[in-house]
């Protein structure tokens, strides 16, 4: 099978890529960096071995390094082996497994693969052949979970990251479940080319999800509380550089000023900054001269010069950064001023009512908005406030229920999970 090098290179793992480690339903987002050790499911390893392989490759963890799994191991544990019909004669005396803990540790140290260890366990279990097929599968599944040492590296996507966050750190995302996120993205009609406002205190996951659905087209303005926007979740998506061009941030502490027309985003007198710089430079040269003529000053002046030099450089850097920040603020303000955003998505730990009322003025007529809250009561308030206030139609307070079925394979597991609430509306004039 001849691989067209160019065509396939985009499917290969590269240094610097943001990826997701996966084992079954456990996920972890990491960035591929040279000589970087990561921990995943109680195992430490370097990621270097992954570079160059295709995404969705499964690796074995061998002595702290990753090696592509040689053969796709089909589960051959129970092929044509015997099984019992029920458990009436199986006594649970804790003595069925002949291998001791030490024996198993020895096997692990010998470098046996997870598959092989499991086979040893089966072979040394006196009751395995008496279990029913279903019980045998259940046993194998349990052992796999414990002894498997494989990890699959997949490309990040909204689906995977949402499941990851919900499984690992639900508190960071206000317990937003992935099916609720799916509903929000669709109800808010997130699509390429629109202008979307996002207020997200879910580590940037919602922001990333919105950006993924916009594909780099249009613009997203992240409204953020406090000093700096949180974008960790968004970074995990590993978007190409040009996606960041469509992302803007605006601190909510300036919203009222913007709405009142009193927000000042003009450049502060640039000459003042330059003057500051030159003054410091002057001071610096003064000190240099003093150093060259030591009979008038002490040697300690040298240290002072170094610190002044560093200070001058830092001051200059700070000025440049402030200028950049001002420019970004002005750009975001320009996008908001038109009050013609196409969508508004709110998912935060803040009380949703004032957030919605505060940001609604930026939304154009005949455009949808969605508000998520972990709790129902604040949304009830929201609903009533919006009904009173008018200007919104098609208000609905909903929550989603997701149920998993395992109709394929042996075990029939059904998990019922409760959702959290979201409020979806359509704004009108």
């Amino acid at each position: 099978m001849a691989d067209n090098g160019d065509e396939d290179s985009q499917y290969r793992i590269k240094q610097g890529d943001y990826v997701v480690l996966k084992r079954g339903n456990i996920f972890k987002a990491v960035q591929i960096q040279p000589k970087k050790k990561v921990i995943f499911e109680k195992q430490w390893f370097f990621l270097d071995g992954a570079v160059g392989n295709f995404y969705s490759t499964t690796f074995e963890i061998v002595s702290g390094a990753l090696q592509p799994q040689k053969l796709k191991n089909t589960d051959s544990f129970t092929d044509a082996k015997e099984a019992g019909t029920d458990n009436r004669n199986i006594v649970d005396d804790g003595k069925s497994q002949k291998l001791t803990r030490d024996d198993i540790e020895d096997l692990k140290e010998k470098g046996l693969e997870g598959q092989e260890i499991i086979q040893h366990l089966i072979d040394n279990s006196s009751t395995f052949k008496d279990k029913t097929e279903y019980a045998q599968d259940k046993y194998i599944k349990k052992k796999k979970k414990k002894y498997e040492n494989t990890v699959t590296i997949v490309r990040p996507s909204c689906r995977i990251l949402a499941m990851m966050y919900h499984g690992r750190e639900p508190g960071k995302i206000c317990h937003l479940r992935y099916d609720t996120l799916a509903q929000m993205l669709t109800l808010a009609n997130i699509h390429a080319g629109s202008k979307v406002l996002v207020f997200d205190t879910c580590a940037g996951l919602v922001l990333g999800a919105v950006m993924e659905r916009m594909g780099g087209y249009g613009s997203v303005i992240q409204m953020y509380p406090g000093g700096e926007p949180v974008r960790a979740g968004m970074e995990s998506f590993g978007f190409p550089a040009h996606f960041h061009d469509m992302l803007h941030g605006f601190p909510i502490c300036r919203v009222n000023a913007l709405l009142a027309g009193t927000l000042d985003t003009t450049a502060k007198d640039p000459s003042a900054g330059r003057a500051c710089f030159f003054f410091s430079l002057l001071k610096l040269s003064e000190m240099f001269i003093a150093l060259l003529f030591p009979e008038e000053t002490e040697k300690l002046e040298f240290k002072k010069i170094f610190y002044v030099f560093v200070f001058v450089l830092q001051a200059q850097e700070r000025l440049v950064k402030l200028e950049e920040k001002r420019k970004k603020l002005a750009a975001a303000a320009a996008l908001l001023e038109g009050r013609n955003a196409d969508g508004l998505v709110i998912a935060s730990r803040f009380h949703p009512c004032p957030v919605v009322m505060g940001l609604l003025p930026f939304l154009a007529p005949s455009r949808p908005f969605v508000v998520y809250s972990q709790y129902k009561e604040p949304l009830i308030e929201c609903y009533n406030k919006l009904k009173e206030h008018g200007g919104a139609v098609s208000l609905r307070l909903t929550d989603t229920w997701l149920r998993h079925y395992q109709s394929f394979g042996r075990s029939n597991v059904s998990l019922k999970t409760n959702g959290h609430d979201k409020l979806a509306h359509l704004k009108v004039t």
Binding site: E381, L397, T398, Y405, T429
Partner: protein, 303 residues
């Protein structure tokens, strides 16, 4: 106006959504000189619609008023003319995320049906993606193609009138995602595999019956698909209302009689007794949300 791009003002030839009230929407083809009847009276397109801003209130001849909204796939789903049973937004949203659809995705779908999911897919994959949709019923295939044109999304979609179980999707090695909503999806699984990119992709099958799901899962496994899982998504709507709960009357407070002297001196309390408490809450809907179908997802590995 288009279903994949917003615009601000209503124009001749647009499809607009008239909002008549709670849960009552109706699509309108805007035409110079045309009229639309509603329960609130007549809407005259030339004066009431064309040139107006989307979102405006329009007063009808009988005096009542309605809102005119820009179409979105979600509004279309609840107002479109049904030719078949359709997929609703709850399932559509789950499908969109689980199939990892985004701008640029190439999707294969069968059957097209009434186009509810099709419009949602088009909105998500625009402007650079493409939808290949297959419908074995000739009139439905033609109607769908017509609607896509009217909704200004025809450049993003190809409708094929054929039987996906026999003839597949008409393309091979191009799809990032495949969606099946047909009576016998297990027969189309191998065609789904052919249509998908060699490097991999996602597949979804929607079936109302668990027996169909089981057969489909087996077919998926046989064809080498991985991560096979089945879910069901239900949406529960909460009715927000103010309720008034009456407070019980246990009779006058007997502790006032223990100090007769003090009671005689102080004037009797004249505060009104509270008879009820009002609070804002939600009530679950009368009917439990209905079962629509099971969604089975799987991943095609690199081949």
């Amino acid at each position: 106006m288009s279903f994949v791009e917003y615009s601000d003002f209503i124009q001749d030839g647009d499809v607009a959504i008239v909002y008549l009230g709670h849960e009552s929407l109706m699509p309108v083809k805007v035409q110079q000189g045309a009229q639309t009847q509603t329960r609130y009276g007549v809407i005259r397109h030339s004066t009431d619609l064309i040139g107006q801003r989307y979102g405006s209130k329009v007063t009808c001849s009988k005096g009542g008023w309605v809102h005119v909204l820009h179409p979105t796939p979600e509004l279309w789903t609840v107002s479109l003319p049904h030719r078949t049973q359709i997929l609703y937004t709850t399932d559509i949203a789950t499908i969109t995320m689980m199939l990892e659809l985004k701008p640029g995705s190439v999707v294969c779908e069968s059957g097209t049906g009434s186009g509810s999911l099709s419009h949602a897919i088009l909105r998500t994959i625009a402007p650079t993606g493409h939808l290949h949709t297959v419908e074995f019923h000739q009139q439905r295939a033609e109607k769908a193609a017509e609607e896509f044109k009217e909704h200004r999304v025809d450049h993003l979609v190809t409708v094929r009138n054929q039987d996906v179980c026999q003839d597949g999707f008409g393309v091979s090695g191009v799809a990032d995602a495949v969606f099946l909503d047909i009576p016998s999806p297990w027969e189309a699984v191998k065609h789904a595999k052919t249509a998908m990119k060699r490097q991999g992709g996602r597949v979804c099958s929607f079936s109302p019956c668990i027996e169909q799901v089981q057969r489909t899962c087996e077919a998926l496994a046989d064809q080498g698909f991985e991560e096979i899982n089945t879910v069901e998504v239900l949406l529960r709507v909460h009715d927000v209302r103010t309720v008034s709960l009456p407070l019980p009357d246990f009779g006058p407070d007997s502790s006032a009689q223990t100090e007769p002297d003090a009671a005689e001196k102080a004037p009797p309390a004249s505060a009104p007794v509270q008879t009820s408490v009002s609070l804002k809450t939600t009530t679950p809907p009368r009917e439990i949300p209905g079962h629509t179908g099971y969604l089975t997802f799987a991943t095609k590995p690199r081949t």
